[in-house]
């Protein structure tokens, strides 16, 4: 009887040891959350929104696993820890890709800005040699005013780039290029018309 009691106490001690020793991986949770936050702050929310959403979903799944194990009598946080470690690794990897994505967006904006500049310059040069005469002078004056307006808008591209709004800058530059090209086409058509008449 005495031996049985000793075994019972030992058994309860061992069970208690197994169930209480497996503690929630709070440090892994905090590290994973911090890694996601760092990726987001680095610009993932703008430049990799889909990937960031996937990371958050992974984190949710890991937390579900932590909670499931937390409610079990025999806790086993190994798989949850692995999931959290993967979240952290993925978040770190995502964060590492952000500077390249930002650089690519910036380069695209700069390229679009250069193209807009070229389109504006071409339109201005064409207007300079446009046939200013009967039937065209008023149109040319109007187009010059249009180009002045586009030139003012062009300055806003740099403001957007300086504010790191690269997508906005690209869109504005593409629009200005489009409008300047329309002016160029109109001037070219006028020149061809006059040349054709001669």
């Amino acid at each position: 009887m005495k031996k049985f009691s000793q075994f019972l106490i030992l058994g309860i001690f061992v069970i208690g040891l197994f169930s209480s020793c497996a503690k929630q991986p709070t440090q892994a949770i905090d590290t994973a959350k911090a890694a996601i936050e760092a990726a987001s702050t680095a610009g993932a929310n703008v430049y990799a929104a889909d990937e960031l959403k996937k990371l958050n979903d992974q984190m949710q799944a890991a937390m579900d696993e932590v909670n499931t194990q937390g409610k079990k009598f025999f806790k086993k946080f190994g798989p949850a820890k692995e999931m959290l470690a993967k979240v952290q690794a993925d978040a770190d990897a995502l964060k590492a890709t952000i500077p390249a994505k930002i650089e690519a967006a910036k380069n695209a904006a700069l390229q679009a800005q250069t193209e807009a500049r070229a389109a504006l310059d071409e339109a201005k040069a064409l207007l300079e040699k446009a046939p200013m005469g009967k039937g065209t002078k008023a149109d040319i004056m109007a187009m010059k005013a249009d180009l002045d307006g586009l030139e003012t808008s062009y300055a806003e591209i740099q403001t957007a780039i300086d504010g790191a709004d690269y997508f906005g800058a690209s869109a504005k530059a593409a629009t200005i290029k489009e409008k300047a090209t329309v002016v160029s086409d109109q001037v070219k058509a006028a020149i061809e018309k006059v040349t054709g008449k001669k």
């Binding site: 065209t136 004056m141 003012t152």
Partner: protein, 349 residues
Amino acid sequence: MACHTPPVPPEVEKAKAQENDLWRAGAPIYAAAEYARYVDSLRSAREKLIRQNARLPWFRDYEEVRADYIVILAQGESLIKNVQAEKRSQSQDSSQRLLRVEERMGKIKALTLMMNEHAPVRENLARAEVAFREAQLLIRNEKYNELAPKLDTLDKHVRQAEEALSSILARYADDAQVARWRKLAQETIAESRRRGTTAVLVNKLARTLTLIKKGKEVAVYEIGLGTYGLSDKICAGDGATPEGRYRIVKKNAQSRYYKALLLDYPNEYDKRQFALAKKQGSIPARASIGGLIEIHGGGKDSLTNGCVGVENSVMDRIFPEISVGTVVTIIGSLESVDKVLAGLRISGS
């Protein structure tokens, strides 16, 4: 109690996929409150799922969990419809707003072409066109949440263009001024009828030259003016076209502008106005009153410095009809500019 481990209901995975779809569709932006409720429901269902998963396999019962997830999936279905409806509504509202702005821009642009007015109206219009195109792109990419500031910028530029235009056209919206012009035109027609003579009526805003014989309008021709043609001429070099009653003082069949009919500008009224402007300091002290205001050929789009330009073919027709002494009345408009603006039926460009 079942003897086997029950499987996790398939609705759980479906809900995960649905939540992703909702996020991609923009539910957190376009139906924020409803999406928050959906996420809450999902969270409490997940809690129940976790509780069941924490049980020993043969004690697990997913029936309640499944029932909750079925409700959530229905909630999600309704939510995605609401998101789509909200996006459709925002798209329609924005598109209609853009259409209204486009119509305003079209009218302003048409007026600038008609008036030969450029900066600052056209400049602001060009900036508005850039903002307009950017707004169109945002609508096309369903980025309605970024649209509001762009539409505000667009409105600002269109308003600035309209204000610049209004300052030019202020006299043309002054009913008393328009009434004076109308009276002047009526007197010219009445005199032509009474004396059986030919007269010319130039309407600057309508850009027309009307030939009148014995009080009847016999022909209407299009004309062109200078950059500041809608203003009343005060002094030399202002590019404005004078308003008032004049007479032809010389016919020139060998003009550098094809053929020309010289007016007796400045008349006595012009001289008084010029002296007054000088006295008030509204023109430079060294300014001269100017002269050599003609109706001439060279094209109605040749941008004069205050003269009235017509096509050479028109000059050929009116030149023989007009003699030295013919009355030429130049008015701003027969109608208030409000009516003119309302009457415009001009498309975008």
